[in-house]
Amino acid sequence: MTYAASNYITVFDKWDDQKTFFCFTPEDAKRLSDFHPFAEKHVDEVVDGLYAHLLKFEEAQMFLDDAETLRRLKIAQRRYFLELTSGCYEEEYYENRIKVGVTHQRMGIPPRLYMGAYSYYLQLMIPLIYQYLGDDLEKANTTFSAMYKIINLDQELAMSAYIHAVEDVISKQTEEILEMSTPVIQVWEGVVATPIIGTLDSQRAQQFMEHLLEKIVESKSPIALIDITGVPQIDTATAQHLIDTINAVKLLGSKVIITGIRPAIAQTLVHLGINLQGIITKPSMSAGLKVALEMLAVGNTGFNKTN
């Protein structure tokens, strides 16, 4: 879904705008890179501190269950930490941050763990900044401000990637549902059946019609049963889609039997003034199948088998 991508991910083209919006200036980048040597000296202390904190919580422990995972994560975290003060915040930085969000989402780490860990990260970092630049309070403050901004930018990217990944899952599932929502089954030699479940909106109606027509030709079936037991209501648009489908089936030389018309639906169809004359309708699938078999037996199908 392009909607999701364009709405949630700060595309790289906009990354510079995003930095401007967060008031992250080249001076900020410079301040962070000045701090880099000190950060490098203390990186192990921060990373160890962070994981010692996380391991106190059962929810976080689940993701840090073995020594090997922990070792790998610490290496990644070390790199991550040093990148914060690298002074270079261009494409590679941007991509790594997006990857962090996607990886977290894929591992099933909830955003609150990510945010909570980041909050603790900052708590470990602030004393370091003041320890290093305590003599020059103004410089310490501006360095802290720069750190705060880059962390906010980081979090925005990671959260966007999270949301986008979830959107992606939803849109894939929607497609899958659409794909499997209109199965056409051959129930007997010469009879195909298709249950419609839910709503027949324009997109589904189109797909439904194509699918049914293909199956009728493929199986050389003179009779198609369309079961609407699973349709909660039929309005005029849905009825129109159904009638269009029935007419298209007729053009192939086959017949349609509509089954599963519930009393409430029958009454609304009458109120709406929808005319289903000339269409065979039955209250249940089994009644419809019986009629279909009778029609096949007497050869009253109008379908030329040599087609």
Binding site: T199, Q233, P263, L272
Partner: protein, 139 residues
Amino acid sequence: MTMDGKQQGELPIISESDIVACRKVIRTLSTNAGFGITDVTRIVTAVSELARNIYVHAECGKMRWNIMHQPGKIGIELIFEDNGQGIADIEQAMQPGFSTVKSMGMGLPGVKRLMDEMRIDSIAGAGSTVTIKKWARAR
């Protein structure tokens, strides 16, 4: 009474999926209000027609709903408002088979038959308001 006791609300109608949302909400509301399955189907079908009209004919609109209590009976009032072109000739629009978009043209006259009351207010160029009501004996 509705499930959470809410007596009124509104829903936007902008995309086709909003039609589904309107139907779903009204199905729950009218079932909880005590309407029988046939009346619920009638009401939901009317909602589907009018919400689709907004989706097809206007850029956007909304559906407002009201649960009405009167001695011995309970009712549901649904108001569909849009910012579309308005309906040029209401009498013509109510004729079965009349359509400006090659659809069946059975929607508006059908809704009138499905519901107990129906009123259309329309100003050319300034949108339409369709109000429908259905009553049931109070439980």
